[in-house]
Symmetry: C2
Subunit: 228 residues, 2 copies
DNA sequence: TCATTATTGTCATAATTATTACAGTTTTTC
DNA sequence: GAAAAACTGTAATAATTATGACAATAATGA
């Protein structure tokens, strides 16, 4: 974790973040004046926020990639979100009653991250409507995202989870490229990797899907849906 | 589902809802003028919102109790939230990009529910700061709540889930009264009831907890924590 | 109050998943 | 390009959980 930037030469960078991008041009100077922030650089593997720690700061990733994970106190992690620059982080629980972070945020590459204190976010929201609305929609989307994740994890069998996952990833098409390893998928499902692979192979055996490395072809979409 | 109230005699009722309770007295008349809403009565078992349906309305339960559930397309449900009057419903995804409801809302008793269209909520938020802040904190709390739920469901074994659940419900004390049936707990965990009961009895056998109906006494808190 | 319904504990069996281990393959990294 | 690391498929065995069914008890309603 390197020291703060001496000064951020290109402060306009913040307007690339979706949270701020809709702020009208004629308000941007005012916005920058009202904004209190610091910028830090992180290396791959650095931890920005620790699960359970008090976090009263809005973070905006302006370079690099950060993943948020939830540990199950056994060393194992479940990835919750994968955030690429330029996007905000920790919007979800910033204003929650219990402001301890439910997740850990870990840099997946070299990162530069802006930190804005909660009180300042309050102020900005009151003063800049576009910011407020974007913030609101960000949190709302998070609720939606978590709900979907919850549904996935709640499916009882690996077969159901995998079917759900594949249908979702296929976006209605018949061929999909897995973007992550089977190990990661297993982690998302909270199941073991061998069990996941076994089920995937069984489904291929049955002719429901075709598996070629990370390319998966959906043969019988109806059957896939019936597994849910 | 009975017809709308002809007119809501006691419109002040809405200020009992936490979303609106902090609106200053001197703004309340204006607030009621700006507010667009309708009130409906429901019977026990009535469905207010169906999972997957478009829902661009903020609901406030002013009498009765509503539970939100997520079905796994197999007839089985997982309860997400239990809302008692006077509290809002569906705050979470109202402003999400995909405004289809991820849950179904089902009345658990006779209910009276206020409906406010999304656009009107927008307007109220811009105009009444206290309302905006409360709304924000409501969504944030929902994110927190869902995160916690996700952690629970992600724990792999029933033993871990039960330990987590009991530790949480005990609030640090040693005796706790279960507020819901074992069947409901099993549903929350997404596991079968017999399996849950079996694990609970095993833990009692081992002297980690003591079970007397719905009263549970935590004997060995450390051991409970080690199961996570 | 009595009847009805919901809840609870238990069981045997079947199904699913975890664990551990290994070897072959692909991808990264230097 | 070679070495290291990560990824993949597979298998045997153990552990966990689901299923369906049953009787006993508690709670509820008319």
């Amino acid at each position: 974790m390197k020291p703060d930037y001496p000064y951020l030469e290109n402060r306009q960078m913040i307007f690339q973040c979706p949270l701020c991008s809709s702020i009208p041009d004629n308000q941007r100077d005012d916005f920058l004046n009202d904004l209190q922030f610091s910028v830090r650089e992180y290396d791959k593997g650095d931890i920005v926020v620790t699960q359970g720690s008090l976090s009263e700061t809005l973070y905006i990733v302006i370079r690099g990639e950060v993943s948020t994970e939830m540990s199950d106190e056994k060393g194992d992690f479940m990835e919750i979100e994968y955030i690429k620059a330029p996007n905000p982080m920790s919007t979800g629980f910033l204003f929650a009653a219990d402001s301890r972070s439910p997740v850990s945020a870990i840099c997946q590459s070299k990162c530069a991250i802006i930190a804005i204190p909660k009180d300042n976010v309050y102020l900005l929201m009151r003063k800049y409507e576009a910011f407020m609305l974007k913030f609101l929609s960000y949190i709302s989307n998070k609720v939606f995202y978590l709900s979907e994740k919850l549904r996935l994890v709640s499916l009882r069998s690996i077969r159901a989870k995998l079917s759900y996952f594949l249908l979702k990833e296929s976006f209605g098409g018949n061929v999909l490229q897995l973007k992550i390893s089977r190990e990661d998928i297993a982690r998302i499902f909270s199941v073991s990797r061998p069990a996941l692979v076994k089920v995937m192979m069984e489904m291929a055996e049955e002719g429901v899907i075709e598996v070629n490395g990370r390319e998966i072809r959906i043969i019988d979409r109806n059957k896939l849906q019936s597994f849910l």
